[in-house]
Structure formats: structure tokens, C-alpha cells
Amino acid sequence: MNTLPASTESQPGGKPPAGEVSRFVRAAVVLLIIPAATFAVLRWFPLEGTPLAVTRGGSTFPPPPIPFEKSTIGPEPETPDWITNVVVHDLDRDGLPDVIACDARRNCVWWYRQTAADVWEEFQLADEILAPAHATVVDLDGDGLLDVIVSELGSIWPDDGVLGRVTLLHNRGETFQRRILLDDVRRVCDVQAGDLNGDGLPDLVVAVFGYARGEILWLENLGDLRFRDHLVVSAPGTIHVPLADYNLDGRLDVAAVVSQDEEEVLCFENQGDGKFLPRRIWFTHNFDLGSAGLVAADLDQDGKMDLLLPVGDNLEDLHSYPQPYHGCFWLRNLGDWNFEARRIATFGGTYAAAAGDVDGDGHLDVVLASMFNDWDAPGHASVVWLRNDGEQNFQSFQIDDRPTHLVTITCGDLGNRGRDDILTGGLHLTGPFDRLGRLTRWRMPKGPSP
């Protein structure tokens, strides 16, 4: 059987006929088509195999027995807000708790005044406050009107510059007059008030966080709103300085959480006459723990003031990610300057803690907020409730997974219901920006405690 067409037969003289050459070329082309096409297609062919498994480090918790009611105070966020601190306090002493919020994006302090049950009016207490970090409500001059002391960071971003200030918003009845109490210091993170030297006047303790350099100061109240600053210790990264009589000797002592590679909780025992004896009551070698705050709360209600230590700050990292050691410690005061540290939650990116009776059962619960959970995957918790069974066994419940990036949390009975509301503030410095929050409130609905 002749399989080749006649035209391809050899021509005289040994040269292949033109048709044979053509067939050869066609055959070669046919043979090359598949490898070439395979190569070309395969090169751009997406891998459609099984996607590699990914292990995520974010934290989730079971939902609470009863879903919490959620609402906002103040306007809904339209753009990423930078609320750094929320405080519940009856600023005008009208019997209805108000809310004070520090807003670092607008460089101001807001007062949400509750004029009737759940009716809120917004006032700007002060503007031109450079990155306010904390507001402390106290009657500093003893005139019966509550003043507000603002800790000015100067920059929300890590910065070792001398940018901080302590600013008093002096309540004059109709207005709040601004007065600088301290400047020429690095970034100020917290100010607490209390009579440290027993002269009947509230003194101030200042946490100068700074960055690589920082310090703790106490400002001696000389009267007439004059203060003299004294160095307590030079240490970088002091976040909060809660005051309490930790050793029950009748004098207010200073507790302080020092972060920035130190990761320790210090107490300064007030020995009177402006003398403070430093005591390191807790530390870890884990420089990356990310201490994020310190809250004084007598959690077991034994009369000795305990401390809550939320840990999970990674703001200085280019990208923060929840770590297995993030969460919250309860530093239980055993007396005589002995504190027992107990982890009560493991929760990625924990940035703030507060104590309150959320379910109205008479026991102090703990609520936590996360700034840096794993927000790339949905469902990771941003607010968690640690329910206290009365024996200080804490059961964790996920109240919500949004808004994300919560940097501050507080508890307060905003509706005088006998149950504390939970209030958070959103600090949306980094993405994702799809679950924004400003001032968000949750509360357990009416009904029996679960």
C-alpha cells in the first residue's frame, strides 16, 4: 500500500521531490506542535493542585450563653478612627454616667454627655491636644468640679522624641480651660492622681512612655495648680501607673508596667516624704510579650488590690501577628508585696483589659480587647468576656469579632442597670479597614444572669 502521494516520489538526480520535503516539514510541524503547546501552556498554567495547608494563629472562643446587645456611642465611623482611650465617669455629676474619649486622629478629647437615659450629646472638651493617650478624671483643685487630665503622647507612632505633655482641662463650670502641667518630656502615656505625701492635695504620677528612653515621675501638688516634678525611676516604655494602697499601710503606692524589652511590673512602695522603694513584683525574660496595660482591680474581692496585665502589643513591628503568649495575667496580691501571676486568658493581640460585673452576679469579670488578632481571616475575636464563677475560675466567651483593632476597653454601668456595659475604642492604624469601629458598646440584655 502506497501511503505516500505520488508527488512525493524522488525526482531524477537524487534530490527529493518538492512534495516530499513539504510532507516532511508538515510531519515535523505536527510532531512539534504538542511539545511546544504543552511547554507554552504549562508555563502559564496555574497550579490547580491542593492549596498548601495554612495554620493560623488567631484566637476564637465560644459565643456567650446570651448574645450581647451592641450599639455605638457618638457617630458611626466613616474613615479609620484613632480612639486611644475611653473612660466612663459622671463628669457633670448629674447622676448619669458619661463617656470621655481621646481621639488621636483629630487631636482632641470628646465628652459624650448622657443627658437622659441613653441620650448622648457630643462635646469637644479640647482640641489641639497632640495624640492624646489617656484621660483621667479628678477634682484637682478641690473646687467640687471634676477636671480632666490628659496624657499627651505627641505621636501615636513609635518615637523617642521629646513630644509629650500633661495637660489639665480645668473645669470652670461652663468651660474647660487648658493648662500645661508638664512638658519637655518624652511621650506621656498615663497620668494618675492621688495624695502621695499625705498633705490632702491630689498629686500626680506620670508614665512617660517615651520609646527607647522613658521615666516615671510624680508631680507634687504645691497648691494653686502648681506642681513640682520628681523622678521616680528612669525606664522606657511605662504604659500605666495605677495607684492603690497595695500593702495596706495607709499610703498610696504606685504600680507600673514597663514594656519595651523590659516586660516587668514594678511597684513603688510609698515610704512617705516623697520616698518610693522600688519592688519588681513580676517579670518575664520574654522581651516580646507585649505588655499593653495595667489595671488595678481587686478581682477576688479579698480587700487586697490585685492587678490585671493584658499582653499582646506589637505596634512597633512592621506587621503584627498574634503570638501564643498573648492574653491576660491576673497578678493576685497575696500581701506583703507578694503577687502570684496566673494566666487567665490566651488571646492574640490583647491590648486592653477591664474588670466589671458584666452579668450582674456580684463577681468581678474581666473583658479583653484585641488590637492585633489575625484579622486576615474572619471570625477571630476582638472582644472577649472572661466570666468569673466567683471562685476566680474564668470562662472565656467571644462577644464579637468586629470592630477590629480595639486598643481600649472599659466597663461601666451606663444605664444604671446593675450590670456593667462594655465600651471599646478603635485604633485603625493598619489594615484591614473593613471592620471599622469608633466607640462601640456591648451589654448583656435584661433578664436573669446566665
Binding site: L31, I34, A37, L47, G49, H319, Y321, P322, G431, F433
Partner: protein, 458 residues
Amino acid sequence: MTARRLLVMLVVLEAVAAALLFGWRIRQPAPPALDTSRLDTVSAEELTKLRQEVGIDPEKWRALSEALMGYGYFPESEACYRRALELAPDSFEVRYGYAYCLQRLGKLLESIDAFTAARDRSAPAMQDTCTYHIGRCQLRLDDPQSAETTFRSILRFPPAALHLSRILIRTGRVNEALTLLDELLPSEFPDRVQPLQLKVSTQMFVDPSAVPTAELGRLQRAVESLTVSDHREFLNPIRFQYGLSRRVYDAAAQQAQGRIETAAAEYREIFRLALPSDRRQMAPMLARLELELGRPEAALALLEDLPTYSADTPETLVLHGDALDHLERRDEAVQKWEQAVRLHPRLTQHGRLAEHFEQIGNAPLAEHHTARALTYAGIEAYRANRLESAEAALEESLVLDPEFPLTWFYLAECRRAAGRLEQARTAYQECLKRNPDHDRALSALRSLSPEPQTEPSR
């Protein structure tokens, strides 16, 4: 067999081989799914492309892993690094990146193993770095004994010495730590912030009644920091290879070469595409450039829009004032400069106001702002340890305004740092005459007196 049959068989064989090849390819592990919604569109497209083109090329898997880490997708990056390791088990870059990623994920034991493996394949220059990271992982595991051994093996690596000092302090060996900080650190890196801060904190903790005044002064004037964590140093260069960050890098290069217009055009486009979180940093930079190019309207538009997504700072307010000034809206410009002073008084804003009041012939206000500008210039120079220029600026300021206590205080600090103690004492006293509650001046004055200090003060 005829040629045609042979051809058909070959084609069939090829088709089978191609099908097998496709099948094999399809069975290859794919990179994990990626939610790019938090990225700008340019970066998202580039990451998606990297992900699609990764194939079975180990280098492409490494590049993808690295890029994912650079953008903070640590879990996805870890998965890709695992694949890259399968394809290139002997690559130092892959092992180091993998170890780094594990560290960021808090998988510390695995990270130690990975850094150890990376060190075994490392060039000598990177061996200490690997060891340092192992020590830091051990600290994060709260294992100071292992960390101490690790850091002692690389004491020539300054950050390791700092960590070791802290371990010694925490484990009750304060004197050894102070000796290490005193004897080792100054020869390696004198007057760097962290060692000095650690030394001062420790001294004050051990003996709160003795304020180390001289060290506190040195600490204030220390200008260099020790790089203890290389997180940004490691990840930023990765970011600059991709997306808008790369375009910023390229635009900056054009700007450096003097092609300002081209750079500005590119910055504008980048700004348009950027997320608010990135615009925050770009807006002042672009506004400054627009002012340089004589486009104050464009600069003004950028600065007016800034508070809708970020915070005003003293720097942006000064720029805002500058833009208004270029547009001959001087009154509004002055308001912005004054606002900048109220937010945070500094050399620049006082300087602008001094010029303005001089131009309008208001001599008292011009003198006031000039004096303040000089004071803040002096303070900046003092903190940068440039004592002579600091003193000169502060003295000049006092000629114009001798009543500002801060000027006297920093003049005293300069003189004390220079060892002129009598002159320092005089200046502290002048400061206290004007502000009797200036405790740092009180404390410094006490430290200059022969009597021992009795109270901790600032």
C-alpha cells in the same frame, strides 16, 4: 510501519506525555489562597501574579514566600517556605526566611531548629545573626539559661551583650551586668541609648536614693540607637521590591537624580492608588515636593484633605502654613503656624512666626519668636550632643529673652556637660529664679553641691 502510522503513534505518545505532564503539574501543591483585600491594587496584582507564576521553581517559591512575609501574610508565607524548602533544601536564603517567618508566628522551637539549620549553611557574616535570633527565641520561650549560653557565644555581637546584661540583672547578677555595660559596651558602641538606659534604670533600682545625674545627662544626649530587632530592617527591603513601595523607591531614585517633575508625577499617581494608611506618610512628602515645584495649590489640596484620613502634626501644619503663604494668604498661614506652636513648640514653627512678625514690623513678637526658635534650636543641638552650637544658640536666645527658664536650664546642662560647673551652677540658679519648681534644675544644683543628695528627684 508506514511513515504516517509512525507519525500518528508519535503524536499519540506526545499527547499522552503532555497529559501526564499536565496531570503531574495539576497535582503539584498550589500556594495557599490569599485575601488581598487589605492591599492596594498594585500590590495585590503583583502578589497574585507571583502566586500564579510560582510553578515548581524553588526560586519563585522563595520570592513568593518572602513577599508574603513582607506584606504580613505570615501563615501563608510559612506554607510557601515549606514548599520552597522541599524544592531547595540547601538554600540558606530559604532556611533563614523560613526561620524568620516561624519566629513571627511564635513557633519558637521550630524557629530555633530552622535558624540552626540556616546557620549550618550560612556564610560567616550571617552566623552571628542566626545565633542571635536563636537566643531571642530562647528568651521568648522564657528560657534564660539557654539564652545566656547562646549570647555568651557571640558577645562580640553588641545586641547580644545587651540581652545578656538584662539576663544578668534579672537573675541577681547586677554587678556583673554593670561591669559588662561599663567595660564592654562603651568600647563597642559608646553612648548608645539602650545600654545607657539599662544602666541608669538598674542603678536607680538598686539605690533609689542616688540619682545617677551624669549618666542621665549622657542618656539625654545619646544620639545613636542599637538595632536590637531587625524586623523592619529585614522586611522593609522586601516590601520595596513590590507594589507601590517599589514605585515609591523608584520615584525617590528619580528625585535624587534631579528629575523632580517625573518623580512628582509618579508620586501623584502612587498617592492616588495608595490606601489611607500609606497616604499618611506620603502626603507631607508630596506636599513638600509640590511646594518645591511651585504648585502651592496642589500642596494645599493635599494638606486640607489630610485630616480626613490621618492626624495633623506640627510638621503638616507648618507645611500647610507654607502652602497658604505661597498663595499669599498670609493671615491664614500665620494661624496654621501658631496652631503648630500650640500643638508642639519647635524651632521651625517659631522660626516662621519670627520671620513673619519681622516682615510686618512687629519687633516685640519677632524677638519673642526668634528667642524661642533659638532656644529650641539649642535644645535640639544639646540632645544631639553638639554642645558648642547648643550653648551658642541658647546664649543668643537669652539676649533677646532672659526670662524663659527652659533656656537657662539647658544652658546649664550644656555647661555641666562641658565640665564648667561654676557656670552651670549660675545658670541653674537663674532658671530657678524664674521657675522655683523646676525640679531638674533643683536636683542638678544639689548634685553640684558638696552635700550628698537625699531625695530622688528629677
